[in-house]
Assembly symmetry: C2
Homo-oligomer: 510 residues x 2
């Protein structure tokens, strides 16, 4: 029968396979499932989720875990020379820790609360779609109240030491506390608000090069070229068209990028390719020896987002990157770029403009959208803000942070799917990703001459650094351990603030 | 908790969902899975198969079944007016019968034998690939001996009343016996051998129209048009490119066709589209009320094949069909068809020519390829033929049936994947499908003026008849019950013999 650890691995890998299958079901749904299959697909999802949950909370798995925890790690055999072998004591310990975390997270919430939350979220999503279309928050209020109430219950079941919101935040960002986020965001917020104000006073750059028409077939080729240069492994992935792009991973050996090409908006697919390939490189860089285990993949939502945003913004909107790629871009699109130099193009793709919609926001204003959501959802969960007062609070924060107020709730507090989906605790990870990305870039800059590599189009060198330093850790470490181990730093807002100042002050002649 | 029947339905639908997911994993593998994901996909498959098997053979399911069998069917409520409601006593009885059959089939074979067979087949497939490439049966002999031995063990476990081969045949063709197949094939064989001989003496038709180059993009449009005319429901399906086409069904609401387009062979994708859409219409025609249950889908392999072959051959290679479609075909391909009339085209696509390879065989010789395999695999299973004597027996039968002998085993007994895959009992269903297709066509002809409908391109009228008479039964009835109920006939070779004579005698001036 083998050791308890070996038997645990069998079950854990089975659980991993079920999650990969769930991810495939979702990928297929977005990429090309016929519309008539909605109900059947929901049933298939429900079946696999049910089996995965049953496996995760089974007494058998807990018993195996406890036995494995008590068991002494065996002597390494000659076949375990692999530095990533699951038999290595330190890797074994990290795996057991991850499994324990997952079991506890999932057993603490009684199945009654979990299924009430699932049902409430399903209801809220359907109501939200109608409310957003009608631009009427009133239609959504009651459903959201129910979701908030159940998320509070969920948080109480999970437990927390400081703030009730900690329990939810920890689902997406292991080990992160509300107090830490508060501290980081309170450093970042005034600097961003100030930068946005200064930029608003400067003349806006011309964006006419981006307003031209770019044939989709040429865009496909250009994006593919960027992905090749970045080092995306095509034997372990593919690219498909969808409406809302994402990166899906069904193990490190099958990491699929999706994209959305628009003839009237060349930047859409271009920066999506960089962003989603950033996620994909992180997934593909996970050690193959950890197939189907919880050590595979990225450390957290924020660390994952740091990788996508590093490629999309820090690399993909930088001047040295376009010094290399703009002549190539011009060769792909001679008519559209005629008479436009690299400087004008660089300024166009870095235009900063406060707007209502988060997903259309630029690199500077984006984090302010997130901080606003974090403040509001924290207040909802702790009970200091009532759901009925959300639209007013939203608009007030928009005025304070960005200086604009949405004309209606559709472009305001109804714009995101996260709250109707009961994903409280998720939003801050987007902004934390910006911070971690800038920290990573700063540390990379000690080893590599980044500007020079970008000017030569040597994107593969960047990926190699990230792979050998960051990707190879998979999910072994929790995010803050990872930062300490890999970057030798604590999480800080300063590198991101410095990066934005250094980039935008000259760009806008501030 | 509801009745035992209700609780059984929950488990049975869960099982159905797992099988649909398995089918999706296979579809994805063939359609576009990156090559590096092979191992991960095998693990995912193994996990889902394992859970499906565990569910099927669980004492809990058997107990629910037995309780449901004892339970009186409840009075029908007003919501059960639906003629396809799973609450109707007769439908309930058919469902329970199917579930019992599945449980018994799967519990009778001990898991040790089943896993030995799986392992032996995996080994045999890998050895077979090398043997076929080397055209050397000797390399494959030992692996096949092991598979045959285990298939015999499997048959003994399943049990049978007459011939040992019955146990295997019944897996694919419920209720069919070896004696019945012997009888049908012994009627058919001499008539086919005779027809092939007479055709061989007649002048061969010109096939030059088929030797021209046909752009793939135009082929796609033409095939799509045929599928639209047949009534394929695009809200419940899609078409993708693969190397070896098939039809995959993940419930009646998601039935996907695949195809393979070759510029140098216009008939490949054309007849594949008709064939696979024939399968797809049958699946899509299954009552929606039976979603995820074993009543969904087609009655058996042979009945399924009857539907694909009816559309591919009886419809798609008929003169009245091309009287309508050839002018359209010419409009799609004016250069390729210049100077070629419908008669010449009709003769070209119906050229009969004994060949070595089953999957390239025409409508007349195809069933002879199958009969040969049936004779040989029956002899292997009953022990009257030793594996080492297979190549000689194969070549002798080829000479007798088709008058040709393959130059090597690669084009002989190594050509099919079925035996290395341990699919003994499967082959006869292909030829039985031809018989059932011709019988169905004969009965359709009593209600519809088939030639006239084909001449008008009214393919939808054919589908409607099939849907209202055949498809709507799903898997409720076993094949022979279905033929009796729907066609009012027993399975017979005569309609197929009559069909071939009536078609090929004038075509070849015999």
């Amino acid at each position: 029968m083998g050791s308890a650890y070996e038997r645990l691995l069998v079950e854990v890998k089975r659980l991993g396979c079920l999650r990969e299958v769930l991810e495939l079901l979702t990928w297929d749904l977005e990429v090309g499932m016929p519309i008539g299959a909605e109900q059947a697909r929901a049933d298939q999802n429900e079946t696999i989720s049910h089996l995965a949950h049953e496996l995760l909370v089974s007494p058998h798995l807990r018993q195996l875990l406890e036995e494995a925890e008590r068991e002494a790690a065996p002597e390494l055999g000659s076949e375990d020379k692999d530095p990533y072998s699951l038999q290595r004591p330190e890797i074994r310990a990290h795996l057991l820790r991850r499994v324990r975390r997952e079991i506890e997270k999932n057993t603490r919430v009684p199945s009654q609360v979990a299924s009430q939350l699932t049902a409430a979220a399903a209801k809220a999503q359907s109501v939200w779609l109608k409310a957003r279309q009608a631009k009427d928050f009133g239609l959504f209020q009651e459903a959201l109240e129910r979701v908030v109430e159940l998320c509070r219950q969920q948080a109480e079941c999970i437990g927390y030491q400081g703030h009730i919101y900690d329990a939810l935040l920890d689902i997406y960002e292991p080990g992160m506390s509300t107090a830490q986020v508060d501290k980081l965001f309170s450093q970042l917020r005034p600097r961003l608000v100030d930068l946005v104000k200064r930029i608003a006073k400067a003349p806006a750059p011309s964006k006419k090069v981006l307003e031209r028409s770019y044939p989709v077939s040429v865009q496909r080729n250009f994006c593919q070229r960027l992905m090749i240069d970045m080092g995306y492994d095509w034997t372990r992935g593919r690219v498909d068209d969808v409406v809302h792009p994402f990166c899906a991973s069904f193990s490190t050996s099958d990491v699929r990028v999706t994209n959305h090409f628009r003839e009237d908006c060349v930047t859409k697919a271009l920066f999506t390719a960089l962003h989603e390939t950033g996620h994909a490189l992180y997934e593909q860089g996970s050690p193959a020896a950890w197939l189907h285990t919880p050590l595979e993949g990225g450390a957290s939502m924020a660390v994952h987002e740091s990788q996508s945003r590093l490629w999309e913004n820090i690399v993909g909107r930088s001047r040295p990157f376009w010094e290399h790629y703009y002549p190539i871009f011009q060769a792909y699109y001679p008519a559209q770029t005629a008479g436009i130099g690299v400087e004008e193009f660089y300024k166009a793709i870095n235009s900063v403009q406060p707007s209502f919609i988060r997903i259309e926001a630029d690199e500077v204003t984006y984090s302010l959208h997130i901080m606003l959501r974090f403040e509001l959802e924290k207040a909802l969960i702790e009970g200091s803000l009532e759901v009925k007062d959300l639209p007013a609070a939203w608009n007030e924060a928009m005025r304070d942070y960005l200086g604009v107020v949405p004309p209606d709730d559709g472009q305001g507090c109804l714009q995101d799917v996260h709250w109707p989906s009961a994903l409280f605790g998720y939003f801050p990870t987007y902004a934390l990703g910006n911070l971690i990305g800038a920290q990573t870039w700063q540390v990379m800059g000690r080893d590599l001459d980044l500007d020079s590599l970008l000017r030569q189009g040597e994107l593969g060198k960047l990926r190699q650094w990230l792979e050998s330093r960051l990707y190879r850790w998979g999910q072994r470490l929790y995010p803050q351990e990872l930062l300490q181990e890999v970057l030798g730093q604590e999480l800080s807002a300063q590198p991101f603030i410095d990066y934005l100042e250094a980039k935008y002050a000259p760009l806008y002649n501030l």
